[in-house]
Every structure is written in C-alpha cells, then in structure tokens.
C-alpha cells in the first residue's frame, strides 16, 4: 500500500467533497455524491483486509472533519468498511452493478448509523434526514464505480487482481 499516495488522495478528495462537489448537487435537498464513501468501498474491495480496516477509519475521520460534528462518521465508516472488507473475503464484488449495490448499502447503513450517533452529540435531525441519506447513497452508487478506475491508477492498484488476505 502506498500510504503517501493514499494521504494525498484523501486530502484532495476531502477538499473536493467540501467545495466543488456542491456544483453537481441535485434537488432542493442538496443531494450530492459522497466521494469519501466511494473511496471507502474502493479500498474495501481492492485492498487486503488490514489495509481496508485502516483506510475505513481514516476516511471516516476525513468525513468527520468536513461534517458538522466529530465522531459519528469515523465509527460508521470504520465499522461498515471493516464489515465490507471481511465480506469481500467470502463474496467477490467484481462487477460494476455489485459495486454499485455495495456503495448503496454501505452508504445507507453508515448514514443511518452516523445519524443515530449524531443524536448522541445533540445534533438535531431534520424531517428529510432519511430522504437525504437515501438520495446520497443512490447518487454515490451511480457515479462510484466510474471513479474506481482513476483511484486505482493513482494508487497503483491493479483492478483485475483481487486480494483477499
């Protein structure tokens, strides 16, 4: 694993997520793809389990940095990224539709958990919270698999070779 490349990628994606991604937001609910979620699934699929665990928690931390409160995303991304990495040892997620499905499920479940954990930090919810989580998961699952290729190129990961260690 090229950790320096990983750090640069995460920083760049975090800045993009907090700024330019708003350009492609849709509907009045401001639904936009979650690039960090896409990266989480990418590393869980294409890296070994140990790397996937570390990257999941790191990406969660990055998501918290640009979020309203610190803590909920690092736990939800960390736990679901780890779960996906272990699941990947049993079921290979090779085809694009399966990758989309993985992004959608992880996005929805981690969003739900982050919302619940956010309540612990007295972060009030809005009436449309679940619609927003659903919308972000769908949007991310649609664009996500197309971003795997540039991510793999940057990380020097061969997408035709699967690691299940």
């Amino acid at each position: 694993m090229h950790w320096l490349r990983f750090a640069v990628l995460i920083l760049a994606v975090t800045v993009l997520q907090a700024s330019v991604v708003n350009t492609i937001a849709v509907t009045t609910l401001d639904i936009k793809p979650d690039l960090l979620l896409i990266l989480l699934v990418f590393f869980a699929i294409y890296r070994n389990t140990k790397d996937a665990i570390i990257t999941s928690f790191t990406i969660g931390f990055a998501a918290d940095i640009i979020g309203p409160v610190m803590g909920p995303q690092v736990i939800s991304f960390g736990l679901f990224g780890t779960l996906l990495a272990y699941l990947h040892r049993v079921i290979a997620i090779r085809k694009m539709p399966y990758q989309s499905l993985a992004i959608f499920l992880i996005g929805f479940l981690s969003g739900f958990l982050a919302h619940l954990l956010g309540l612990l930090k007295s972060r009030p919810s809005t009436a449309n919270t679940f619609a927003v989580i659903f919308g972000i998961s769908v949007y991310s699952s649609l664009v996500g698999p197309f971003l795997f290729l540039p991510s793999a190129w940057w990380m020097r990961i061969k997408t035709d070779r699967f690691s299940r260690h």
């Binding site: 800045v15 700024s19 389990t49 928690f57 409160v69 803590g71 690092v74 960390g78 930090k121 809005t126």
Partner: protein, 261 residues
C-alpha cells in the same frame, strides 16, 4: 540492521481504532472542533475557491441580472430594517421624549468575513477571536440577520444559521415577541404564537435586541406560510423564509458591539 516490524493482529487493530473513534465521539465538541477549524484554516484557499466555483455554477441568470437582483434584495432588507427602526424610534419619541435615543449600531463595528466552508446549517468563516468575535454575536448577510456565532477559534469561527435545527433565536413579529426555531430546509418555524395576534404571509420577522449583542431590531426573514397549528388550534404554525439567499452568500458581516471595551 534490519528494522523490527510491529505486527498487530486484525482484531486488536479494530479494537484500538473503535476505541479511539468512541473517544473522539464522546470528547467535548469544543475540543474536537479544533480539527475542523485547523482543516478549514490550512485548506482555506482551495475550499473558498471551490465554493466560489460551485456558487458561480449554480447561478442560472446572466451575471448582470444576478447583481441587480442581489442589490435589490440588499436594499429591500435595509429598507425593511430602517422602516422598523423608524417606527420604533417614533414610538419611543412619543412615550419617552425626555430620554436621549440611542442610534442603532452607535457602538458597533462590522467584521467582514469570507465564507470558507458552507453547509445547509452552518458556515465556517475566516474571522475569529483575533478579530473580536465571540460566541453569540449576530451575523449579517445582505443586510439581514442570517445566524449567530456558535464557536470561535483564533482565526476562524462557526456560524449557526437561523435555518439550522439547532438555532433558536428571539424574534419580533407583529410587535409580539416569539421564538424562531430553524427547521433545516432553508426555512424556520415560529410556533406557539397565539392566533389572536394578526399575522399574514409576507410580514417581516425581526431579530429581537439582545443586551451586549444587538441594540435594535434587524430583519431576519419573511413569513412564507401561516396556518393554525394542528395540535394547538389556538396558536399559529408559521414558516419563515430567510430575508436573503443564504446559499449564494460569499461573505458576511459580524456585528461586534462595543469593540473598544
């Protein structure tokens, strides 16, 4: 000499990371927000550039029309505030002619701050404690109140917008005091105002004066919807829209009262 590699088992790694995450979750927000402020400060330039790109991409109208529209909103908001102040001053004149009237913003200065990072409920701005900002100060956008300072670091601050579900601000509506509660969908609610008070769609909502932070009424929004409350039929359920387009702001003014003190 060969370096000794530390081997950590996967369960142990997960345990440590989960533990660290829970510490982060349960640590006071005042402490953990330092990470967010540091990130906003370090990446101030790319964040604000990216936001400006997003803003310019979102504006549908031709640039000339957009400027005119914005100026129109600014002037309208300023006019509404001045009218209300005039009305207030006249009322005071009538009742307390012996007292010397206080000119609004007599002891205030405005700290111009650029928005580094924006979300539907809050902004991070590039002014902080060093510029005289403290928690609770009111923030103006296009001459209307858009929120209050909720957290401050040395060079940055967090603005909680009036539309944030966490925001609760004392307001004046139809010469009655009420509490405005953000609802999160770029709007806010006023509940439990008795229906005996006459209010209608389009009425202005003003931020109420607060000692040491605001000494006059300033426009905050306008009533977008007004109907009787389903649960409490003797009260209003009022939806308020902010007086300016918060999403399109690139800078704000923070009201710093008594800056010399």
């Amino acid at each position: 000499m060969a370096r000794k590699r530390i081997k950590v088992s996967r369960p142990m790694l997960i345990t440590w990371l989960v533990l660290a995450s829970f510490i982060l979750l349960l640590a006071p927000q005042k402490l953990t927000s330092k990470f967010q402020f540091a990130f906003a400060r370090v990446f101030r330039w790319p964040l604000s550039t990216g936001r400006n790109i997003a803003l310019s991409a979102r504006i549908q109208e031709p640039p000339a029309t957009a400027v005119q529209r914005r100026e129109y909103v600014q002037i309208q908001n300023y006019l509404a505030t001045v009218r209300k102040q005039l009305e207030q001053q006249r009322s005071r004149n009538a009742k307390l002619s012996a007292f010397r009237k206080r000119i609004p913003f007599e002891d205030a200065r405005f700290a111009l701050a650029y928005i580094i990072k924006a979300s539907p409920a809050e902004f991070i701005i590039d002014c902080g404690r060093d510029d005289g900002l403290t928690v609770g100060q009111f923030v103006l956008g296009d001459n209307s109140i858009i929120g209050t300072i909720s957290q401050v670091s040395a060079q940055t601050a967090r603005v909680e917008l009036v539309v944030s579900p966490r925001a609760q601000i004392a307001v004046t509506i139809a010469n009655q005091d009420a509490i405005l509660q953000g609802s999160g969908n770029n709007s806010a609610k006023i509940v439990l105002l008795p229906t005996k008070h006459k209010v209608k769609v389009g009425d202005d909502v003003f931020a109420a004066p607060k000692p040491g932070l605001l000494n006059c009424l300033i426009i905050m929004g306008r009533i977008a919807q007004c109907r009787t409350n389903d649960e409490y039929p003797l009260t209003w359920d009022i939806t308020v829209q902010p007086a300016c387009d918060i999403e399109k702001l690139s800078s704000v003014d923070v009201i710093v009262m008594n800056p010399h003190k």
